[in-house]
Symmetry: C2
Subunit: 223 residues, 2 copies
DNA sequence: CATTCCCTTTAGTATGTACTAATACCATAC
DNA sequence: GTATGGTATTAGTACATACTAAAGGGAATG
């Protein structure tokens, strides 16, 4: 319970743990190691510090659980991340595909005063620019379906690119330049399960996506 | 010459060294120790890393000098600091007295893309919100005189609060609430050298400042 | 049952950034 | 010329964050 404010590293861990918990995924060290791109021993010792400082508990079955204090800190860093993304996108006009990685560095330096000011200027958004829900607004995104579950001919609106896809800047650039961004319409053109691809047609033409990627893109069907 | 990008700590050192050099002050470790509020041995080892990585040279007489690479990095961090201050002040409406310390944390996470966008949105300012010159714009502030050199009855305009005063949040709050901010008018009311104070009168009433502080506040005389 | 796979941990190391205590160096002043 | 004050360094330590190599555990699968 020593630390009052998490370090940037701990904030990164908290954010990922919160998101995994939110999604009902198993929260274990191996997942963090992958998502944070650090070695397994690094995760072991960092989790040890996090337990010591009261951010998480680790069950006998090695599952990681946020403490109430950990939940608060995780929500704060995610809120600041998403608000910073909006600031970069709307106020500074950075490309949609770039705001995540910029915000990821800046988020750790945002005070609650700046956060409140951003909430005010940005009209208290419920979603980030990629359609992911602000902590507490999960119900909004829960009605959308994965793009991977569509069938040929479906008319859809892209609603959400999952947080974990945002980590890949090459993918994000591909999505942006092919108009796979929230609010854009598309029609499912072709699904090739043996090839693990799904092809859609939108304003920018024909776009093919891997099915694994399509599982983390959420859409609304149009009638 | 190992490091491409300075760490936040090194950026702090670079900024202070640049500012001391700009002001013609003696750039030695003891000064850094004071201004950065770290111990002398910490400065010794950090400067050693900075020499190793090509940011500075240390003369046989122990004077610290930025290398060309060090100058570039220092200018960049100061530019980003000042642009961030303006963003916080003009776009997010944070109080003038608070933007320095907020920007001091954020400045290390600003990419050149964000920097360019800020320059655009903020119309390429030549001064920071406290009247200190952007690197390369030193000539603008060189015509102002220290407030401490005024005489009773002088009508003045406050132009600049020196960077090193910005470090004291209590002082900054005092200055803001007494309208000692760039652009504000005042008249010198009383100077008490034996007391080391100078008193002025402005819209907000009568304000007394210590002479040491007044040495780092720059003004323009009105005729 | 043994092998394999996934996961975690231990052991040892490195680096940046901090500290205190003690030492050393130099110039100026008495 | 010795004392003082300002400055810098060495020595030893601490902590957060990273790594590799190696070992250990548990579950599933042949």
């Amino acid at each position: 319970m020593t630390e009052l404010t998490p370090t940037p590293t701990i904030e990164d861990y908290l954010g990922i743990i919160f998101t995994l918990e939110r999604d009902g995924e198993e929260v274990i060290g191996a997942r963090l190691s992958e998502l944070l791109e650090v070695s397994a021993p690094t995760v072991t010792v960092t989790l040890r510090r996090m337990v010591r400082d009261g951010w998480i508990n680790i069950t006998p079955a090695r599952k990681i659980e946020l403490t109430p204090k950990g939940v608060d800190a995780a929500k704060a860093v995610i809120r600041r991340h998403m608000l910073t993304e909006w600031m970069l996108a709307k106020i500074l006009n950075l490309p949609w595909s770039k705001v995540h990685e910029e915000a990821h560095r800046i988020e750790h330096s945002i005070s609650s005063e700046v956060e409140l000011s951003l909430i005010d200027k940005l009209d208290d958004p419920a979603l980030c620019p990629h359609g992911n829900p602000m902590p507490g607004q999960e119900s909004i995104s829960s009605k959308w379906k994965p793009l991977s579950e569509c069938i040929t001919g479906d008319k859809i609106i892209i609603e959400r690119i999952h947080e974990f896809l945002e980590e890949d800047p090459v993918l994000m650039d591909y999505l942006e330049s092919n108009q796979i961004v929230p609010g854009k319409q598309a029609v499912i053109n072709e699904i090739l399960p043996f090839n693990k691809t799904i092809t859609l047609k939108n304003e920018s033409g024909i776009v093919t996506l891997g099915l694994d990627i399509a599982k983390s893109i959420y859409i609304e069907k149009q009638h």
